[in-house]
Symmetry: C4
Subunit: 269 residues, 4 copies
Amino acid sequence: MGESLKETLYLLLEDPEGRNPRAGMVRIFLMALILLNIAALILETVREVSLVFEFWLKAFEWLSVGIFTVEYLARLWVGGPGRAQGLAGRFRYALTPLMLVDLLAILPVYLPLLLPTDLIFLRALRLMRLMRVLKLGRYSEAIQIFCRVVVQKKEQLVVACIAVLILLMIASSLMFYLESEAQPEAFSSIPQSMWWAIVTMTTVGYGDVYPVTGMGRLLASVIALLGIAMFAVPAGILSAGFVEHGDAGKTGDTVCPHCGKPLGPGRTD
Amino acid sequence: MGESLKETLYLLLEDPEGRNPRAGMVRIFLMALILLNIAALILETVREVSLVFEFWLKAFEWLSVGIFTVEYLARLWVGGPGRAQGLAGRFRYALTPLMLVDLLAILPVYLPLLLPTDLIFLRALRLMRLMRVLKLGRYSEAIQIFCRVVVQKKEQLVVACIAVLILLMIASSLMFYLESEAQPEAFSSIPQSMWWAIVTMTTVGYGDVYPVTGMGRLLASVIALLGIAMFAVPAGILSAGFVEHGDAGKTGDTVCPHCGKPLGPGRTD
Amino acid sequence: MGESLKETLYLLLEDPEGRNPRAGMVRIFLMALILLNIAALILETVREVSLVFEFWLKAFEWLSVGIFTVEYLARLWVGGPGRAQGLAGRFRYALTPLMLVDLLAILPVYLPLLLPTDLIFLRALRLMRLMRVLKLGRYSEAIQIFCRVVVQKKEQLVVACIAVLILLMIASSLMFYLESEAQPEAFSSIPQSMWWAIVTMTTVGYGDVYPVTGMGRLLASVIALLGIAMFAVPAGILSAGFVEHGDAGKTGDTVCPHCGKPLGPGRTD
Amino acid sequence: MGESLKETLYLLLEDPEGRNPRAGMVRIFLMALILLNIAALILETVREVSLVFEFWLKAFEWLSVGIFTVEYLARLWVGGPGRAQGLAGRFRYALTPLMLVDLLAILPVYLPLLLPTDLIFLRALRLMRLMRVLKLGRYSEAIQIFCRVVVQKKEQLVVACIAVLILLMIASSLMFYLESEAQPEAFSSIPQSMWWAIVTMTTVGYGDVYPVTGMGRLLASVIALLGIAMFAVPAGILSAGFVEHGDAGKTGDTVCPHCGKPLGPGRTD
């Protein structure tokens, strides 16, 4: 009987053929539970809400953690899409990213029961509960596509990010030497003036720190004109990745996204 | 005679062959009326203007609503491009998006005459009059192209928007835990700190809320560098869609904009 | 003799074969004069500079206007690249964009001598002198490429701009109805709240106007997320135009910018 | 023996075949030293750190300058990848960009020992030490790719930058004439109002300077809508360059990233 239950769970949780209607309902139920749970965690921080609905928020938290725990254990027992067997196989399965995320979603609730804890650790655990949003990765095609695009473009992204960091360092050093005398508070050190550089080159520009001397403004102008172009490059790379991905998906990855001709065998992206 | 009037109206309003000069004049007249009406609605909110020209603005409003009503009834009677017949056919035609927009443009003026209303409802109705701008959709190719681009890229846009929302949630939660002690006002709850996250990641950066602690600034820097790239992706996708659309339009949809080869018959975008 | 002078001027100013070394020197001299003249006009507005160097700035202004006048008359006499003849031909030539720009560069200096003027008109004329920067258009390939890109992408740009304007109107109207009670100063009318909408959707975010109510912030968040994507589209279209232009230029406009194969005859961009 | 040491150094420093494991270790050691040295220079400016660790920071600075000096002299002796011989050959090699950067990394420490210096010169030399980050260029593929992309797109970048500068000049002049009366401080001259123009058109928007008059806001709106599109173009060009570069790298430069056809021999980018 244990085997037939395991078989049923396997069909429900892993849905190997992808068109079991009851597996679809389980999936939708779990996604809804994750979303509701995250909404509850967010609302908990609003004092007006947490004062009135404290009991219900707590109750819902325990209920959903219970379901997530059952889900985690069931997935572990079933052994995943590869039907891992034995302790070693299941241990290896438990170390896959998706299973680690599932563990991370329930662990913060059980840890204080097992370990002696202090207040700061408790706060960190409360924060970790929000990582449950990552559980959506199992269901959300959006997150999977996003990850694939990042992986596909990772070389260009790394290049752009290193260029951005070097630019950041040069900009904040130069600004420190030019503005630290006029504004010893805001530009008290290079790490401090990095805050200015990031706020400027990302074009956020809160307005809490900005140059006031003539030379500082001149440098800031040059940095803004040069640096912003550089800071926008990672966004451009990601956009291109998404556009290519979408085009490729539409034509089924075997024809040119532009002219519909079959692609050569050397083409991989 | 009713039939011949209906035929005339059909030719004027629907212009099936697209080169009736009098239908073109009707179109230009209605577009001008919509634009003037919106200008009037906007100017109405400027106290100096509304005090002096109150009568003329009201008169123009009633005149244009009258014309819009006649236009709506005429369109309904004619039955649209498909010449819908009978009550059921016309009811179905009335539920098409363009006809609903036309109804929305005149309804807010008639509703207070039919229903008992209070002040808030009246304000909402006044606001709804501005939705008349959507009536331009019938005439403006720009809006139609814009809609087509959005529809064509909707999968990538949805993926990017979900990634943006998840990022938003993670960023605002982390910031809440780091800054809520130093700035209990600005970061009083996660929904509150979402305002900061949106203002930062869209790079608007009003400067009403920003981190002040060292850890908060470090996190804000990392979030800015990572998040902004992500927030710019929808814009990149839309841009690519517009560029592709324009290129396709130019080459008449029959050759690849990249290699000039004729496109296969299976190609739809 | 007049004819031989005219011929010499034609070769110097129009340089039909594009490799007359003396014509190159004239070109460089005129470009330098324009740049210096603009620098002088800019420095004139710095009080410290204008007090000390008033005489020299004035002298240089008159000298360069003199040279520009001689250049304009010489160009008119020569008749341009087409060697326009007679009064009518020269009048038609004088109405070409480049000649109008040349006229605009000198007219503001002569007008006050011909017409009775008041102070406001004088100020406007002073401002118009800065339009001399457009004279660079004759020499700068950058400006010519920029104009060509804009012309080539004008349809998509117009579509994007209309979408932007409609979005702007909807955003500022909604914000006016939501925030005008809480901030009657900053959101006193729809035109007034358009300032907020532009500052937000371009992501400039000065911080002089921002929503403070919960509903206002919610709306601002939605508008920011949706609208910014739209506002970035014209930039994306221009970038694509520049990239295509550069690629096309490299491959000589007759082969695919991507694979170097000859382009089909139907390809025009 | 000198020759065999030179040969060993050549293999260690230049690594002609690119798979000498000891040369790899030298490379990693030098990169780590550069990064640590830069970190030390940055931390030196934080008063809390420099007070406590002054001795260790100084000691580490002298140690790393010593190693950099030995490295520089060794490279010069070896003569670079081309094994330059004689004084003239080595002098020519010393003038290559990478060797100049290496010289720049050590010179600021030795100059005060050779020349009489004042305080300002000393400050400038301290700043120049940060240019050591450029030494990473020898090892970082990211910087090399970045440089190659900039070189490849330099024509379009120059065109876009000139357009940006002309736009900047027009915007700041117009704004000066419109706002200088209402805000004589912030818009006291055209160079002064250029600060506003740059902060606005890069969309940084600190909020220290913004128009307050109706006309000024109208102009700022138009400038923002037009100008921002232009300012984003260099970023778009760079992004396109990175994406193309990455695509070319993946397909091994032999097939078109768009249609999968083999590339012609004339294709170089």
